[in-house]
């Protein structure tokens, strides 16, 4: 398994995910500048968090036109696992690889805090070892993470079991209070119809070592370790 972490101008979580994959999970991982990326060299790719191109025009839209995304689309077609975290999720949405939109948080503020998310499906390569209904502690850090889609789009995501994570409260229930950004249906992460592309706003790479967690947990590792097993 060889993973590429794609660096765009303005990526800033690239070194964190690189560290977790290489030093914690011992996966062969390279940092690759977006203009130098060749998808045929890799089994999987991660689009990291950050503020690619300063979030100009709309978070993710300029990076969505990067030469790297042609390779990402090719990899996705071949069934290789692709993960987009935070800004990476925004890039996947804006490149059309995942449906919907990520808009300004309902409270308008940038939110940086630990939240709880519920795993909604074990039927993805990324969550196959996580029980459906399991609650994970994981931080978010974003201003544009409010997932929005048309009524039919939300219905299709539900019908096709594409909603992978939802924001929940301590009891594991969705509610207005446990939904930090106003996302429709409390959506924190979704996958593609073919299930090999995952986009999520929370940062698993920031929850992968107990020393970094106020809960002494490493729930993010449960998601990322999938990349070591594929």
């Amino acid at each position: 398994m060889k993973v590429a972490v794609i660096q765009f101008p303005g990526s800033n979580c690239d070194l964190d995910i690189f560290h977790v994959l290489r030093n914690v999970l011992h996966v062969e991982t390279n940092l690759v500048w977006h203009k130098n990326f060749n998808g045929t060299d890799y089994d999987s790719a991660v689009l990291p968090g950050g503020f690619s191109y300063g979030d100009y025009l709309r978070a993710g839209i300029i990076a969505a036109h990067s030469p790297a995304m042609k390779h990402i689309k090719e990899m996705a077609k071949e069934g290789k696992p692709i993960v987009g975290i935070c800004n990476g999720f925004q890039i996947l949405i804006e490149s059309g690889l995942l449906p919907g939109a990520l808009l300004r948080n309902q409270g308008t503020a940038f939110i940086c805090k630990w939240v709880k998310i519920r795993n909604e499906t074990s039927n993805t390569p990324f969550t196959k070892t996580i029980r459906k209904g399991a609650i994970l502690d994981i931080p978010i850090a974003h201003a544009e993470g409010r997932y929005v889609n048309e009524h039919d789009g939300i219905r299709e995501l539900n019908e096709n079991e594409q909603i992978v994570f939802r924001y929940v409260d301590n009891q594991g229930k969705t509610s207005e209070n446990s939904n930090p950004n106003g996302s429709m249906d409390s959506i924190a992460g979704i996958c593609s119809l073919e299930r090999n592309i995952l986009g999520l706003m929370p940062h698993p790479e920031r929850a992968s070592e107990t020393i970094l967690s106020p809960f002494s947990g490493s729930d993010g590792l449960r998601i990322l370790s999938s990349l070591a097993q594929i």
Binding site: L57, R58, I61, A64, H65, I93, E94, G96, P99, G100, A101, L103, R104, N105, Q106, G107, T108, V148, N149, E150, H151, G153, G182
Partner: protein, 88 residues
């Protein structure tokens, strides 16, 4: 070749709430005493200078660009494209 100024305005559709506009309306305008202003929608404004034979062609170039490059996200945005005036 003549140049034309084209305005592109991107707004959230009604189905996508606009917290920026809501905050401007509630916390600034209403609080500031302008209660006759009943709602605000915030959007994004781009002003482009385009070389073309005429206004219609200039508008067509920008429309093609907006659709091809996804200048707006059609799931949640509307995009108005209009001619401002001949560029100075």
């Amino acid at each position: 070749m003549p140049q034309f100024t084209i305005e592109v305005i991107i707004e959230n559709k009604k189905m996508a709430r606009d917290p920026e506009g809501e905050t401007i309306a509630k916390e600034l305008i209403t609080r500031g005493g302008f209660s006759k202003v009943k709602s605000v929608r915030a959007g994004k404004y781009l002003r482009l200078v385009v070389e073309a034979d005429n206004e219609v062609q200039a508008q067509q170039i920008v429309t093609d660009m907006a659709n091809t490059l996804r200048i707006f996200n059609p799931v949640v945005h509307t995009c108005s494209i209009r001619i401002k005036s001949e560029a100075e």
